[in-house]
Subunit: 377 residues, 2 copies
């Protein structure tokens, strides 16, 4: 059987670099062939954060759009070299780009989202067809533009006999509910709130910028939950809001973190981290049980960078407490940090085959939509 | 013969609204069927200008991208209604969007440009295939991303027997050189500098915001050229720079105008306007004669909003002085303000037919490129 190679490119809200995945779609199945991570240089990462603020300057956004496009293109080239697959055997590339703003709340009656990482640059560097910028078409269809990952979760992890939850912990945390044997129409999914975003900010803060994150959650594992801070965090109104819903840096970014510091800056680092881990874990588990209402024990599949954080896993297991079993996604054939890159390849595949990429029940859209914009090299 | 309808949507650097053109491409010819102008509401125009500054805020850019997309979509719908052509008979829409930044100078080694007006929104509103965002692919090919209009000028106005110059006066002025009988490879074209942009700023300034522009150049016609101001303006280094070259609001926008005011704020309004008109006219004519080196009298075809400004036309005629004859584009079948909208339809037609849209000699690109990104409704 001939191969149908596609590449997916993703950078999450944590803004640390590009995840690239080479995926084989032949025969309708989805097989992850190779993956690669290309980190952003430190200066670029800082610029991405600067551009992502409400007042992120147009001049910088304009330039970063091209710089990121070039870097995303290079990630695709490097991935092919590593996998020893010639680029010209790749039929298409799907690219998420870097989210600069996500404003799905309809302020002024307008919902909007802004991803940058110019598709034309990726097409020029790789010589491949590129589908980029998937979220705006869902917004145009009345949705939140997020989450999109449930489609990949469905393709990779749905099971005929077991209720499953896929819990993706990037900067922001989202879950996908995959009831046993359900088709694409049975999927539910939503953002549950913060995951690594405040954790990483805390690491940077307490280490005075020396550590970008708490590796494997080692420091958090040494701490205990601060009850006052935990209660304060768990009272965030987003956790009570009914799905479909999405969130981002606007709600759980620098302003949120500054607020926490002001109130709980005296809490010691390990406890501060452990508390944030407990909040990320509990809020996700609680929301699954209150909004998805599973009727039997489920499989809780963890992915995203947070899947490497032992404190996050410990807190999820503790909160599940017999109501489900925890598995990391790599045990099921797809690396913890590779799923969203695989998603981008899957979305591009669907767009180029005239298939919708959003799941209206998940994003809140009024209808299905063919996502993304096609650049021809 | 069946019709092949396409719609082109354009908003120029003057940021006053959307020009829409319904074009019939059947049989390879380009026939303008109907045109319509949809002005931006005043508040939106102000927001566009605010977003276009170097520090234009990300939050606003994100929202305007969607708002403008909706407005561009509405312009297409209104145009079809006016022309009594059902939208579903339109095969595609080409949209330029609104330029927020144009930074082709390669600062930090990166050339970039940013147009907003979400293609997914236009596709959602119209239900038509949309090609949007044409400039980045030329930049990715090593070009300036501008000017693109020469392609439309070639299609609409090239002549077997006559050397022709098409002079488009929007906020910025650009010219296209069409030597008699030359093919697409014989075209030259470049931005020549400011046209309406400083003129409109002067009108707004002197009228304390009451007039957005000098209608038909009536006030400028009453003035005379201020020699000192004229000499100062004509010394701008951009006029001497060899093509290919492009410019924009960054060079001839608010900062440029503030500098003029500081030096020549005492010049009375009519003289100030007349001087700016003389600068726009002379700089364009001078650059054509020094860079294109025509060997015989030529036809100088004027289009863009500036074609309605009598002072601009007077100054061009004066500067041509027997070396050429002036014609307004409507005398040749395409309205003065409709050409760039027609261009957008022509570029979309080319992209969807796998044809390049840039002219490397004009934009400075290293190669031809298929421009734009395709949104599927």
């Amino acid at each position: 059987m001939t191969t149908t190679y596609g590449i997916g490119l993703m950078s999450g809200t944590s803004g640390d670099g590009v995840d690239a995945a080479l995926v084989d779609f032949s025969g309708g199945a989805v097989r992850v062939v190779a993956t690669r991570f290309l980190p952003y240089p430190k200066k670029l990462r800082e610029e991405v954060f600067r551009a992502s603020r409400p007042d992120g300057p147009a001049e910088l956004i304009c330039r970063l759009n091209v710089e990121l496009g070039k870097l995303f293109g290079k990630a695709a080239v490097a991935l092919c070299k590593q996998a020893k697959v010639p680029l010209k055997q790749v039929e298409f590339i799907g690219s998420h780009g870097q989210t600069i703003r996500h404003q799905p709340d309809g302020k002024n009656g307008v919902s909007s989202t802004l991803q940058i990482g110019e598709g034309s640059e990726i097409a020029a560097i790789t010589g491949r067809w590129v589908v980029s910028d998937f979220r705006p078409a869902d917004i145009a269809a009345g949705g939140c533009g997020a989450p999109l990952a449930p489609l990949a979760h469905y393709v990779l992890f749905s099971d005929k006999h077991e209720d499953r939850v896929v819990h993706n912990m990037g900067g922001i945390s989202n879950i996908t509910w995959l009831p046993a044997g359900a088709g694409i129409g049975g999927i539910a999914g939503f953002d549950t709130g913060p995951a690594n975003m405040p954790l990483d900010m805390a690491s940077a803060h307490f280490s005075k910028g020396k550590r970008a994150y708490d590796k494997n959650g080692a420091l958090a594992m040494k701490g205990t939950v601060d009850k006052k801070m935990y209660a304060h965090c768990m009272a965030h109104p987003f956790f009570k809001k009914k799905p479909p819903k999405s969130t981002g840096r606007e709600a759980f970014g620098p302003l949120y973190f500054a607020g926490l510091l002001k109130k709980f800056g005296a809490v010691k680092e390990s406890d501060f981290l452990r508390t944030l881990a407990a909040v990320a874990a509990s809020s996700a588990v609680d929301q699954v049980f209150s909004f998805c209402k599973p009727k039997r024990a489920l499989r809780w599949i963890v992915c995203g960078g947070g899947a490497f954080n032992k404190a996050l896993l410990y807190e999820i297991r503790a909160r599940l407490a017999g109501r489900g079993a925890l598995t990391v996604s790599s045990q099921l054939g797809c690396g913890e940090k590779d799923i969203e890159a695989v998603l981008m390849a899957a979305l591009a595949y669907r767009t180029l085959n005239g298939l919708h990429g959003n799941i209206p029940k998940v994003t809140g859209a009024e209808r299905t939509a063919i996502l993304g914009k096609i650049s021809i090299p």
